[in-house]
Amino acid sequence: MWLWIHKLGSPPHFYRIAGLLTPWFGWSAGVLIAAGVVSGLFFAPPDYQQGDGFRILYVHAPSAWMSLFTYVVMAIAAAIGLIWRMKVAHAVAASCAPIGAAFTAAALFTGSVWGKKMWGTWWVWDARLTSELILLFLYLGYMALRSAYDDHQKADRASAILALVGVVNVPIIHYSVVWWNTLHQPASVTKLAAPSIDPSMLLPLILMFFGFNILFGALLLTRVRGEVLMRERNADWIRERVSQP
């Protein structure tokens, strides 16, 4: 196992294995998301309180989950990069930011539209909404910080520290609906307890949830491959890879 992880940490192995996995991840994510959208929009019954408006849940909740999950992956990768000076780990952290920013923007937009209908307002400075907005700024700040450096190594270190400091925001977002009882409702689906949602409404959510996670995998692998090529321009293995299309 350790040997396998160590091998994956070496750029040529990572590049090759990631290239083999990406199409599988991409296509299975596409199938899951398509099934989730169709079942969520057309087959799940309307909610007894929110009517068809609750269907926003199927894009909102997975986006919001991915916005946090991506940040956790980014912070862990940044920590591994700082501690063990692993090149691929820094490449992973750098690749997470734009993906996380897009998921966060989607979570904020879909939540805002949903809030407009259900709460009568696009935006409130509620704890969940505010901390999620801070998450977007963390991603954007991380990307701006990286682009301010020409040197990869300096960018890696400075941005890794920012990623690690910003990780305090993750539990704040997650527990915000419990700590501060404001407008945003608490989660209806938890892994520990039985979910308070009907199976016919739950299935599209599960499909979307897995679809989004696997999509993230495909996107991350593709981006990290690009980052690895950027960083290891001198290595011999790249000569072989680049010469063949």
């Binding site: 408006g53 897009a102 321009r233």
Partner: protein, 56 residues
Amino acid sequence: MTLIEHLQMGGYAAYVWPAYGFTAIAIVWMIVGARRAHRAGLEAARRRIEMERSHQ
């Protein structure tokens, strides 16, 4: 219920469709961005190799 009626989302169409639309745009943007990042890496590597060749 007809399909058209269903697409009106019981009066929530103006909220449901923009939410799905924005998410779709975000996903397409992420896919295009990831592919572009990979291609940029390939091109940078190719340029570097050609430079080295011309200096030899």
